[in-house]
Amino acid sequence: MRNPIGRKVVDIRPSGIRKFFDIVLETEGAISLGVGEPDFDTPWHIRDEGIYSLEKGRTFYTSNSGLKELRSEVSNYIKRTQNVTYDPLKEIFITVGGSEAIDLALRAMVDPGDEVLIPQPSYVSYEPCAILADAKPVIIELKEENQFRLTAQEILDNVTDRTKILVLPFPNNPTGAIMEKKDLEEIAKVIIEKDLYVISDEIYSELTYSGKHISIVSLPGMKERTILINGFSKAYAMTGWRLGYACGPEEIMAQMVKIHQFAIMCAPTTSQYAAVEALKNGDSDVEVMRSEYNRRRRYLLSEFERIGLTCFEPFGAFYVFPSIRKFNMSSDEFCTRLLKEEKLAVVPGTAFGDCGEGYIRISYAYSLDNLKAAMERLERFIQKLQ
């Protein structure tokens, strides 16, 4: 029989998270700080609108781009948070989570051999999606000394004649790093000068703890060359609803929608009705969740200081990314031993890129009681190592 598998796919490395997931499942009584999704339930009024849409029989496809009402609400939302105007009919469309938008943006924009700059540590899908789109991923290794922010110089060091796209993943999973206005202004200069496009994945935008999130699209000249990706998963605790959106120049959106229409048809209808409610009346829910995350973030940082774990202060998402360098073992070994010896699961930094070596990702999408129990285990483990 012929080999049924295409080589492009075989060559993609399996997610480092998957491997770890299997070990965690085998460990009985393990506490996990390994999840990448909120612990809150979707606010009831949002779920209620989803249920109501089902009761009314709204069970058909929507248009390929998504409900007009939802696109208008997305447009209003970006206007009120970033003061940037997107045409809801031509410059916004609804996707199956932010992940689909990442995939579509890359597929719609690159030709074989085009180079895509991907800062790491970052979310696991950028690199494989770039490869699947026949692009060449070029990794930029972010540095703790810069608080894992992306600098203009790092872009310059990696730009070639073939560079077309920069993926901008902030607030960042797994580091929790954010980009402030001055950081964005510096890289915007380089992006314009080198005529690059930006795929800005802002899925954690609502979870920023040092003032409001600033999108690169709000800087002069950047809306024209940016695909803004966001969604409902993190802000409204709606991961299972699978709903996100992409905003950008009409000619790029048209091509992305083309792929979306053939591959997906439309995002889930029930989720879209629920999302309208989220954008209309969900601000106070987001505020409550953000305050709660922020308390947990402060708690973890104070615990790290107490037990002697170095960590830069992250101001976004719901992750902290402490360094474990001083224990002279790899991230993988640290996490495996922590799980075996203290039954605490955290994710090795290397799951998010080779440069995550020497770090672990700890999620605080858990109740304070849960975090307290976990910190007792982490403290015991570290005391044993010292």
Binding site: G34, V35, A345
Partner: protein, 162 residues
């Protein structure tokens, strides 16, 4: 959120939290928080630090009842003096002035049905200003003070995810 609002929203859910832990969660100075707590107590905004107990899970008998009370308001005093008359009974846990079909909502805690019934017929109904009462016994508490009582939290998320 102001410091005051944040303190209140945290201790409303967890009154056992100490000043140090509050200062960690809020990223504020301990002395500042201790002072604010003191002020909140002095101003009567924090009225007590109670514990939520689901008595139905113990073998101790408790009966709770809501009583709708219609009264004649008194000249110059309105409802306040009759409310005071009622809330002074130790078995009365809450008294609210209501809009709508009746005037006072009285919440009562007793050991037995008879005890509650006795209170209503002997003490409450015999007050001069009380016109009528309607007593409702609580059969089961599903949710109280924002807390769901008959559900155990279960984390159904995948244990590790990107």
């Amino acid at each position: 959120m102001s410091i005051r609002e944040e303190i209140l929203s945290i201790i409303e859910k967890n009154s056992r939290i100490g000043v140090h832990d509050l200062s960690v969660l809020m990223g504020e100075d301990e002395v500042l928080i201790a002072n604010e707590l003191k002020t909140l107590e002095d101003e009567g905004i924090i009225c007590g630090y109670h514990t939520m107990i689901d008595w139905s899970k113990t073998d101790i008998e408790k009966v709770n009842a809501l009583i709708e009370v219609k009264v004649t308001p008194q000249r110059g005093l309105g409802f306040d003096s009759i409310a005071e008359r009622i809330y002074k009974y130790p078995e009365v846990t809450s008294v609210y002035l209501m809009s709508g079909g009746f005037d006072l909502m009285v919440i009562l805690e007793g050991k037995t049905l008879q005890e509650v019934a006795g209170f209503v017929s002997n003490k409450l109904s015999t007050l001069d200003t009380v016109l009528s009462t309607a007593t409702h016994f609580i059969l089961k508490k599903y949710k109280d003070h924002g807390t769901i009582l008959d559900r155990q939290y279960e984390d159904t998320r995948e244990k590790v995810s990107p």
